[in-house]
Symmetry: C2
Subunit: 345 residues, 2 copies
Amino acid sequence: MKIETLRWMNNKLEMIDQRVLPASFQYLAYDSAASVAEGIRSMVVRGAPAIGVAAAYGVALEALRLQGASLVDFHSGMEAGFTVLERSRPTAVNLFWALQRMHTVWSMVKGQKNEAVAQRLLEEAHEILAEDIRINRAMGAFGAELLPDGARVLTHCNAGALATAGWGTALGVFRSAVEAGKKISVIADETRPFLQGARLTAWEMVQENIPVTLITDNMAGFMMSRGEIDAVVVGTDRVASNGDVANKIGTYMVAVLARRHNIPFYVACPLSTIDMSIVGGADIPIEERSADEVKGFRDYHWAAEGVSIRNPSFDVTPAELVTALITERGVVRQPNRDKLRALFG
Amino acid sequence: MKIETLRWMNNKLEMIDQRVLPASFQYLAYDSAASVAEGIRSMVVRGAPAIGVAAAYGVALEALRLQGASLVDFHSGMEAGFTVLERSRPTAVNLFWALQRMHTVWSMVKGQKNEAVAQRLLEEAHEILAEDIRINRAMGAFGAELLPDGARVLTHCNAGALATAGWGTALGVFRSAVEAGKKISVIADETRPFLQGARLTAWEMVQENIPVTLITDNMAGFMMSRGEIDAVVVGTDRVASNGDVANKIGTYMVAVLARRHNIPFYVACPLSTIDMSIVGGADIPIEERSADEVKGFRDYHWAAEGVSIRNPSFDVTPAELVTALITERGVVRQPNRDKLRALFG
């Protein structure tokens, strides 16, 4: 099954509603920057690369929506559109990367007719989507070589087709390994509070007929201590220039345990996720989301009344715990500033 | 509020139904060994010391139930009662400790009239309950001295009044610290899949007006990396003779992280939880519970259909990661076999 997380349909952006998966599979349609921003904020779409693609379409949709306006209104409306998208979520750098790329195009063509500008922005969004899949395929091929035949691989959150335009970063590595004829089995952390592992990663792997075992987040240490994990592969929302990795809350705990058990810890990471403008992980903004997410799941709240709640959505794994980054340009072992700089050279 | 996890009422054992807390607070009544065993298995009552007390009452209830029978039927019925209770859950040693204590009494008095035997067994169960609270108080006093004023203390699962006959082991330390005039704030891991932290620990601390913050299990590393945890205190289900600690799944991950961040990791541990008969943690049987627990919570299942599931209910923290055991006879720093042997001397 080919999973189209985002698709262009009837001049609208359609996105799979990831809040209701796997119980129901449905697309929601978007026709403006503000609606896409809300879709990102509310996690209809999530996953750093997918957010980037969604934001690019948000810009294009805004141009299409406003193309009939006066030049002045079109220009001010577009700038407002960029701003609302920028403010949707803070941690994943792909959002800002995609918006910057769209803004560069916007700056180059905004002297043309509104309709031509809108078409050019839409083409760029299409290209970002297509490119994302090509990049995932390239990462997958490099990453697949790292996994021995028969590997039992732990992953956290969902860095799959649903987190990208398709194929996936971490799950793309698994797909590529299987495509290359390797037997792989996946252990999926459920990933509280949004349960991306239980709902999305498990669902994707079941669709692919890749064996997948679900555990709660607090079982990873047990599994490692029993020798039941051979490698860890995760995605990332932002990598700092020194190789520190921001990813879904709990990733850091997995990395610390992997080190203790001498298990390789790999991060599948397109170049668009590397932020060379920041020195280290301490500079990555960590989103804190609503307390409601931790009180329970969806509308079912089980936590005791009156308890305070924290809900940081990401954490930072220091570069020293990262065995290698898997990028579309190859595998970067023991990542550091010099190696990351060389990647972009 | 005094929490009576187990109480003797109208010649029955009543236990708070911990499966439905905190949404509803209700007692269920038990009148036989088999029903108590089912209450333990289904986690109406949980927590190693509470399970021990429940099992003791299970023996007494069986004697009361069968006291009108012939001597032969009484004796065979009692032995069957011991067996059904022994098989209720495998990991917490307090269950076997309590049953052994009851069996010793049983062996001494079983020549007497059935009614006298039943009364003697009931007295012993009452004594085990009363003793548990005294022991918790003693542990609390020793443990409270370890916590600095203002300490922000992480705990995992529920080692509270609800896990004991009252007061609690880990939460008993917090109660004693507050009673001694210290300001303490508690960070509670939600503790998937049964959510003892979100439901029980949070509820107990709210009742006591002790500040408590709920996090998901995968957030502990983030909190430690930000310097927001000063100490960890947990309970235990069984300590091996070398100091290895079995406790609720996820405890090991917290211990590994505490070591990385130089945060003291304390285990509140009555002597009844120490199993000198086993060499190390590898010999502690780890219960694997139903997959349904991991698919969701109660009847609400969110996991993808077709996924495999693991559900180990406990893990083992090696003694080297334990800063100290807190027992009713004092604090045992860097526990090892010699120190544990000396405790029982």
